[in-house]
């Protein structure tokens, strides 16, 4: 079964926590190592890092009209900064992979099972 691991961290805290470019590189190196490990295990089903919410755009369609606003959908303390998709045999395995994500140490990782659906007509 596939699980989406959503990585939430505070963008402002991260700036304070990792002030120098070297700090940032160290975090990136940890993420690369993690990505390699999960790919090697054969459980990797996708994953990306996101640009900060400062450059997000929120889109709504109301009465047939597209409305766009600058910024994230909601102002929250922690923001979605990236995700991995794992193909795990059960929740325990997904939790184990979530716990190894570097950001879990200063942010939170939400584990969401992917809904399994069959398309009509299939």
């Amino acid at each position: 079964m596939k699980y989406l691991l959503l990585i939430y961290t505070s963008e402002t805290d991260e700036v304070k926590r990792f002030p120098s470019p070297a700090d940032g590189e160290a975090v990136m190196a940890e993420y690369f190592a993690y990505t390699q490990a999960i790919q090697k295990s054969g459980k990797f089903a996708g994953g990306e890092a996101l640009q900060p919410t400062a450059i997000a755009t929120t889109v709504r369609v109301r009465d047939g009209k597209t409305q766009t606003t600058d910024g994230p959908f909601a102002e929250t303390k922690e923001q979605l900064g990236g995700y991995y998709m794992v193909d795990a045999k059960d929740l325990d395995e997904a939790i184990a992979w979530a716990a190894r994500i570097p950001g879990a140490r200063w942010g939170s990782v939400e584990v969401r099972p992917i809904m399994e659906m069959t398309m009509p007509g299939q």
Partner: protein
Amino acid sequence: MLDVSPQPDAAARAREAAAVAFSSEGGRILAGLVRACGDLDLAQDALQESLAVAIEHWPLDGVPVNPAAWLTTAARRRAIDRIRRDQRFAAKLAALGALLEQEEGLPDRPAEDGAVADDRLRLIFTCCHPALAPEARVALTLRALCGLTTAEVARAFLVEETTMAQRIVRAKRKIRDARIPYRVPAHEDLADRLDSVLTVVYLIFNACYSAASGDQLVRRDLASEAIRLGRLLVELLPGEPEAGGLLALMLLHHARRDARADDAGDLVLLDDQDRSRWHADEVAEGIALVDAALRRGRAGPYQVQAAIAAVHMEARTPAATDWAQIAALYGILERMQPVPTVRLNHAVAVAISEGPLAGLELIDAIDAEGGLERYHLLSAARADLLRRLGRNVSAADAYRRAISLCENETERRYLARRLREVEAGEG
């Protein structure tokens, strides 16, 4: 004329045989079904239906030689029928396969003890999974492992039955949809996950003794259910001393049940209890268990708490209590769980064994760290030690503070009496 309607006494006999088989073997049968089909809901429904079928058939056909085996087979067939009828048939093929395999591969009697025991252990770990809400873990465990009805669980915890039903349904849905595994955790996770299981068992036990009034009958049963679960864990996880520690702790508490309240139903403190009313066999079993657990050399909070209870209960009279040992044990517990109540208990035990001054120093240290300004027991303990040191003015201040923070009327009356004593001695 052939009369096929069951005789009334045959019906009663059948009903009783079914009830006996269900209460003694229901948990095992359920656990086996869950293992095969991986769906707690389906397994419970199938077991319920098999019981209904038994009550219908046994008066006519006679009670089978092995009622539990009969129920197992009937429940398995019900589960298979249900899966076959299910519209999402394809998704459940795997479960069907496992059930059919059981159907063909196994003789119609309960599996060997080992395998059955493992099923129940898996079920405990599933019901107590940390990904479930704590109150749901308790409810699921009582439902699935102790066979309580949803209504009984609701009554025990003073929750509307519909609320409890929703809680259980939500938890079962999460087990299924998030795929919480039905297995004993791997060795490296066992300690963490066992913690969650032991917490649930202890919560069930404490619900029986908590002050909030629920249905008293159901609540009293909860202590026995918790002890039964504790025994199961000790039997199935012999290498885990904290399981033994928890069982010992529960037995030692429960052994005092008849001495804990006076005729008016008021609480009787440990020192004032009639020790001849303690259940001696349970005391002995608890002490033996905690000794055996501690000998493994991996002490944990349950073992230490049980050891403290054991030292109290080994004394023939309150005056004979080995307070030095209790103080030392609280010191160990404080390092494991540096929470206010434990730290305060440590200070009180030190005060009794080494004198009020030594206890007062510890209380001052707790106070200096702050955070307990509104905790009346801290002020009450300080007041008591100051009184014994003859520092009546400071003692009176501490009593006044304790009284202003205390919300329990009985305790407040006791503190007010002490306050008058020290006020009389002031100056």
